[in-house]
């Protein structure tokens, strides 16, 4: 039971002047209960990858398998795959259409012909998980704020009770509080229901904090695949992947360079390397800071 992606490749508009290679030779696995973060700069192929995980795009090269079912054109169980893998698109609040919050959240389970009682139970559970009060069920989803709309949209995906949840930049455009809330909620879903989570983000800090594994994409290729601990030493070439290292690392590095003890897995030279500066630079900068103050 897992999502297995092997040697996946995809090209948009092949054979035309608009040809774009979006993915090339991507392999990884996602198991239930696991948390994978896919990071990469804009245009590195993250969204294209997400659409392969539930059969919206059939692989042109390589293969994708969801719990043993191959995602490919003409596969009769594609709808089954789409139920198993819940996909939350970027800015999911733009897909809202129903008259009431209840109808919106029940859209997915009804599409999969759930009996009406079961639909109601699922809507309640999903809404509760996302902190949508029952009192709002009969209101129009368009009357909520951006963050709340997004919660409704995510609840509508959860209501199909997927085994895996793929989220494309779910925190983009949210304020810090809503962002933290959403991440806490995903953590909770993962531990309580054993959901496999694949989170797409360009926020390295979030990825380093949450994931069991990180997949770093660069121009459609797999630049890195491994645990967060293994990622840091690789980041020396971070300019090539155009991702800013988390501020917290810069801070830790400065603390370490002053001889403070910081509970991190890495020694400060690795850290300084990751920040692409030689250690003495940070030392000198600190001295300069001290002189200034």
């Amino acid at each position: 039971m897992s999502i297995v992606v092997s040697a996946l490749g995809y090209t948009y508009h092949p054979g035309t002047p608009l040809e774009t290679v979006a993915l090339e030779d991507i392999s990884f696995q996602l198991e239930p209960g696991q948390w994978i973060s896919v990071v990469g700069h804009t245009g590195s192929g993250k969204s294209t990858l997400a659409q392969h995980l539930n059969g919206l795009l059939p692989p042109q090269r390589g293969s994708v398998e969801v719990d043993g079912i191959p995602c490919r054109k003409g596969e009769g169980r594609l709808r089954e795959i789409r139920r198993i893998v819940g996909l939350v698109f970027q800015y999911p609040e733009q897909q809202l259409f129903a008259e009431t919050v209840f109808d919106e959240i029940s859209y997915a389970p009804r599409n999969w012909s759930c009996p009406e009682q079961e639909v109601e139970r699922r809507v309640r559970t999903a809404a509760e998980r996302l902190g949508i009060p029952e009192a709002t069920f009969q209101r129009s989803p368009f009357h909520f704020s951006g963050g709340e709309k997004r919660k409704i949209a995510i609840a509508s995906v959860l209501a199909a009770s997927p085994r895996y949840l793929v989220l494309d930049e779910p925190t983009a455009g949210l304020d810090t509080t809503s962002r933290k809330e959403l991440l806490a909620l995903l953590k909770e879903l993962r531990s309580s229901e054993g959901l496999g989570i694949l989170l797409i983000t360009h926020d390295l800090e979030m990825a380093l904090e949450m994931s069991s594994r990180i997949l770093l994409l660069h121009e459609g290729r797999r630049f890195f695949w491994g645990t967060p601990d293994e990622l840091l030493p690789e980041l020396t070439e971070r300019n090539a992947v155009r991702l800013a290292p988390p501020d917290i690392l810069a801070l830790s590095s400065r603390l370490l360079s002053r001889g403070c003890s910081v509970p991190l897995t890495w020694d400060w030279e690795t850290l300084a390397n990751a920040l692409n500066r030689d250690p003495s630079f940070i030392l000198r900068k600190n001295e300069a800071d001290e002189c200034a103050s």
Binding site: P17, L57, R82, L87, Q95, F97, N111, F142
Partner: protein
């Protein structure tokens, strides 16, 4: 699944070709002439010549011929429909009859001629948009209509509206594709059932699309106003249009081609019967 990937109609493909570099006014006039020429043609032979001309033009503009031909795809249904109508409902010498339906000699001719005309119309029109950016197109139209401004004709506004609509066609197609995918991911079945079922199951796509369209229109209006857009008079251009000798030659060439084709069309009647 690639839902809306085959849409090339109305798209601009920048390749550095001679045809791309022509003045938009030249291309608009030439296209108008070509469209007239197509409507004047009666013989299958002449339509074949037009086809050859299209292939030559596609080569000259460095566009793959498949892409140029692909732009007729969206109207194929329409072509088929009008073709069938003409095929079955034209009076004349009966050839075959299938039940109540009678196919006449004139019907076949009319159907063929109309289908050819429609297809070539779309092909040449989309060839214009393939080789001319929406900006240039609007500038060209504005410039061509500018003599009418003194009679109150809104040349600039027309051009601006056109630019904006053309500019947003690909964006809207992308948005539609994205929303369709999102609803399919939530289990929507968009391609099943009869017409009304389909229409109904399309509501989850149409409603968000409308919301997005209005939002975009609003944003655009605000953005234009906040940068003091106030219509055409007194606005300067970054790239003023410039009619070159090559434009005169190209236009002349096209005009000559059409005159020749029309002459051939008239005189062919001596040898072969025309479609019309």
């Amino acid at each position: 699944m690639r839902f809306l990937n085959h849409m090339t109609f109305g798209q601009y493909i920048p390749t550095e070709s001679l045809i791309h570099r022509l003045d938009p006014r030249c291309k608009i006039l030439a296209t108008t002439l070509l469209l007239t020429g197509i409507f004047l043609a009666d013989h299958a032979v002449v339509y074949i010549l037009w086809g050859v001309a299209l292939i030559v033009l596609a080569g000259a503009s460095k566009l793959p011929i498949r892409m140029v031909l692909g732009s007729a795809r969206p109207v194929l249904i329409l072509v088929l429909f009008t073709g069938l109508l003409h095929l079955f409902f034209t009076d004349g010498t009966p050839l075959v009859s299938v039940g109540p339906l009678v196919i006449t000699r004139e019907g076949i001719r009319l159907a063929a001629a109309m289908s050819f005309r429609l297809v070539f119309l779309v092909l040449f029109a989309s060839f214009l948009t393939l080789t001319t950016s929406p900006m240039e197109l609007a500038d060209g139209i504005e410039s061509l209509f500018s003599p009418l401004v003194r009679f109150g004709f809104p040349a600039h506004e027309l051009a601006m509206m056109m630019t904006i609509s053309l500019r947003f066609i690909p964006t809207l197609l992308d948005e539609t594709d994205r929303i369709m995918k999102a609803q399919i991911a939530r289990g929507a079945m968009l391609d099943q059932g009869n017409f009304f079922r389909r229409l109904q199951s399309f509501l989850p796509v149409l409603i968000p699309l409308f919301v997005i369209v209005f939002q975009r229109a609003e944003d655009l209006a605000v953005a234009m106003e906040s940068r003091c857009y106030k219509g055409g008079s007194g606005r300067t251009r970054m790239n003023p249009l410039c009619w070159k000798n090559s434009d005169s030659f190209a236009l002349l060439g096209v005009a000559l081609g059409i005159v020749l084709a029309e002459c051939a069309d008239r005189n062919l009647s001596w040898f072969v019967t025309p479609l019309l």
